[in-house]
Symmetry: C2
Subunit: 476 residues, 2 copies
């Protein structure tokens, strides 16, 4: 057990923060609710960005940048939207030493400013579709914040697309949902459930909100990303019409979608253990750390020379680092890199040198094996995807173990308290039962899952007829 990291079993929330501080991922900022993303945390975010950005571009999207400030009047143009976001806004009232005529909102999300621009850019069907994404910071005034998971300012990407038809918009919404699922499962090694949000939980201004939901190690749900079909709501609010091929004016159809630095929080909670951070190789800023062990200058020289020759072509294969710092002992270094979640550690001392071998240690399992130096590169190249896969499978098995079908409300209330987890339950579809569920159990409907079997049943709460099961859980 690493010094300074609380056990998960003792205090899960404290464990989460201890991991962050031990790995130097983030820190509290002077302004309440804001965070500083430190270099170790930001490097993870950069890898997340690179992978997602590539997927967006390969599916025809381009990046742009829209302003931080939104005139207050814009936010009010879409009725549901302003109702959802107004209570969370940060407001600029003064600029350049003067009081502003109209206050400016620091963007909580950019639909309104973007649709004001789309009005200028869209006249004809030839101008469609527009497939724009932006990487940006947004601000939502939050009272109860937690590093990465919920902060007043956060970094995200927000896609905003414009289409000629409902079908195209729906197709785009689902295309992005699939990108999010693929990214979560293949890069974050995090199995997710894809599904539709209930009317209550959908985005303020959307017709439909789809989401990915993942189970954390405390068996709570975390919403990892959302993809919204906005219908014609924003086109109508900002009067954006296009002339179709027959010369007829039509309102434009819209989508928006986003994931944020919250994903870093999900990544931390999904795989880490009581010794510190555990990162999936695809997103780990450093995949392999080599720790030379020596006494005296001669040994040092021999070992470092050997490492130089062994690693000379590694940089085209994986991201590695040699930790040859003088003023720290090997044991201290082992612990530091373990806390930082580096997937593979290589130890190389004088005795290993004699045997032409190194010791390879897996961060996720702790397995420790000698490997011949001539086989080291290949071994690592094979092991990295194996670790990635093992982490996914472990998380998948964990979720399976804590996912239950449940048809008895009394039993459910006991189990969600004792065990937590995901519950597939029948729900009649009413807001009344949804509210009652949340008030009585703090659990919420996470989503109406995309993958489901047709199965008639009775609502867990009111006993009315139901056509399908939904996923409920306590959530972040």
């Amino acid at each position: 057990m690493a010094k300074g990291i609380t056990k998960r079993s003792e205090d899960y929330s404290k464990w989460y923060l201890d991991i962050i501080f031990a790995a130097k991922l983030a820190d509290y900022a002077p302004v309440k609710g804001c965070m500083v993303i430190r270099p170790n945390g930001y490097a993870i975010w950069e890898n997340i960005q690179a992978a997602l950005d590539k997927m967006f571009k390969e599916s025809g999207h381009v990046n742009a940048y829209f302003p931080l400030f939104i005139p207050e009047s814009f936010l009010k143009k879409e009725a549901e939207h302003v109702k959802g976001f107004a209570p969370q806004c940060a407001v600029v009232t003064h600029g350049g030493g003067k009081k502003l005529e109209e206050p400016l909102i620091v963007r909580p999300t950019s639909e309104t400013i973007i649709w004001a621009m789309y009005k200028k850019w869209i006249q004809s069907y030839r101008d469609l579709p527009i497939l724009i994404n932006q990487w940006a910071n947004v601000v939502r005034w939050e009272m109860r914040t937690r590093l990465f998971l919920r902060t007043m300012e956060f970094l995200w990407q927000e896609g905003h697309t414009a289409h000629a038809t409902f079908d195209e918009a729906e197709e785009e919404t689902l295309r992005i949902l699939e990108i999010y699922r693929t990214f979560a499962e293949e890069y974050m090694a995090l199995p997710v459930i894809t599904g539709l949000k209930s009317e209550k939980e959908k985005f303020a201004g959307a017709d439909r909100t789809y989401c990915i939901e993942a189970m954390m190690q405390d068996r709570k749900a975390l919403q990892g990303g959302t993809s919204h079909n906005l219908g014609q709501n924003f086109a109508k609010a900002f009067d954006v019409q296009y002339q179709d091929e027959n010369g007829k004016l039509q309102y434009v159809w819209a989508t928006s979608w986003g994931v944020s630095t919250r994903l870093v929080g999900a990544l931390i909670m999904a795989h880490s253990d009581d010794r510190g951070l555990v990162l999936p190789p695809k997103l780990a800023p450093i995949q392999v750390v080599i720790i030379p062990i020596w006494k005296g200058d001669d040994e040092k020289k021999a070992i470092l020379t050997k490492i130089d020759s062994v690693t000379k072509d590694w940089s085209t294969h994986f991201r590695f680092k040699v930790d040859d710092r003088e003023n720290y002992r090997p044991g201290w270094k082992f612990n530091e890199w373990e806390q930082q979640g580096v997937p593979i550690r290589i130890e190389l001392g004088p005795k290993d040198l004699e045997k032409e071998q190194a010791i390879l240690v897996r961060r996720d399992t702790g397995d420790k094996d000698p490997v011949g130096l001539d086989r080291l590169k290949n071994q690592i190249t094979e092991l990295l995807p194996k670790i990635q896969e093992d982490l996914f499978n472990k998380a998948f098995e964990f979720r399976k173990q804590y996912t239950f079908d449940c048809d008895d409300y009394t039993q459910f209330k006991k189990e969600i308290e004792d065990t937590g987890g995901f519950y597939n339950v029948h729900w009649c579809g009413s807001r009344k039962c949804e509210d009652r569920l949340q008030n009585e159990t703090k659990a919420t409907i996470r989503c109406i899952p995309m993958e489901k079997k047709a199965e008639k049943g009775k609502c867990l709460l009111c006993g009315s007829d139901s056509e399908e099961r939904v996923v409920i859980a306590k959530a972040y």
Copy 2:
């Protein structure tokens, strides 16, 4: 001459805006002084980011992210700093529906928030150096804005480093200056003068500000980037001390440095002509555009099949696009891609197909030559760096042509009005002469250049002794 683009000789400012709108690089935002960076403009910025980010990382820097909001009291801790930035601040006074106890400043630059964090992170010499950069948006309230060159909100990178000694900080300041010079000359194809700012022109809070200065086509100067040696000013303001190897407490030494989306403006103005944007190949989002020419479906099929086979391995060599849109004529496409600054255009019609050739057109010179299809890839691969070099040389020659030594104030006043350009003049070093110069001629001291010959002379304004020439010009 392209429709809709004013000639440089008629109205340079209008020409600049016409280029931007014709190439769809940016647009005005609803909030006065703010801009929207459209996909074509943002793609250039992404290429700038990628090249610089690589150079920063190769020189040991890491990225991080600090909050957008700075408590008002922080800005006031460094006396010169607040004097410089307070008049330009946007102020958040309300959040979450309530008036804030302390107003928050939307960062105009991040020294204060970062040094508040460095106080937490730096205790010992072992914690130094810290070499952090961040890519972020900043806000400075501006009355007279111009797309890319001066906007209320802009995107930039800001490096903030902490060192144990003055010498290390000065070395870092100059290392970054050299990165900026290399980037401007090798990627932007823009020759720059490196130099030191006068006391009057230096950054608010710096001991020394170094800069790169480039000449635009209207012969005005544009400051492209600055690198500041901040001395111990911020360490003292935020009480950041470290214990040195002898156990003694010392104040930390600091640097900061930045370039912004202003560079996109510089790029536009440096190379473009009366037909539209001209981009250097290294930063062009699309380096080669292929325009098939056909009549009827059979021709179309034959041409596109040929293009497919000719270009099949191109994507690993350069960034290209085939414009096979149906509803636009070839001539319209030529014009559009010319306006967007694509360095090389390839035309391929039925007659070319017969001769197994294509027509290759250079955007910068307009040169138009047939090239055998079997030689096309090699020809392009050789031509792209040649275009890059030619653009640099052209800009270099232009600057040379309009750079003058001048020792007569009356003559200078006439020439700066008639011809513009850069003037190497003697200056006594006094603020009085510097102010007078600006008041009487609108020219400013751009920098005390790094490359100079020792040469005694008399101040252009007061006639006092001077040891070296400085560069003066009208500037953006």
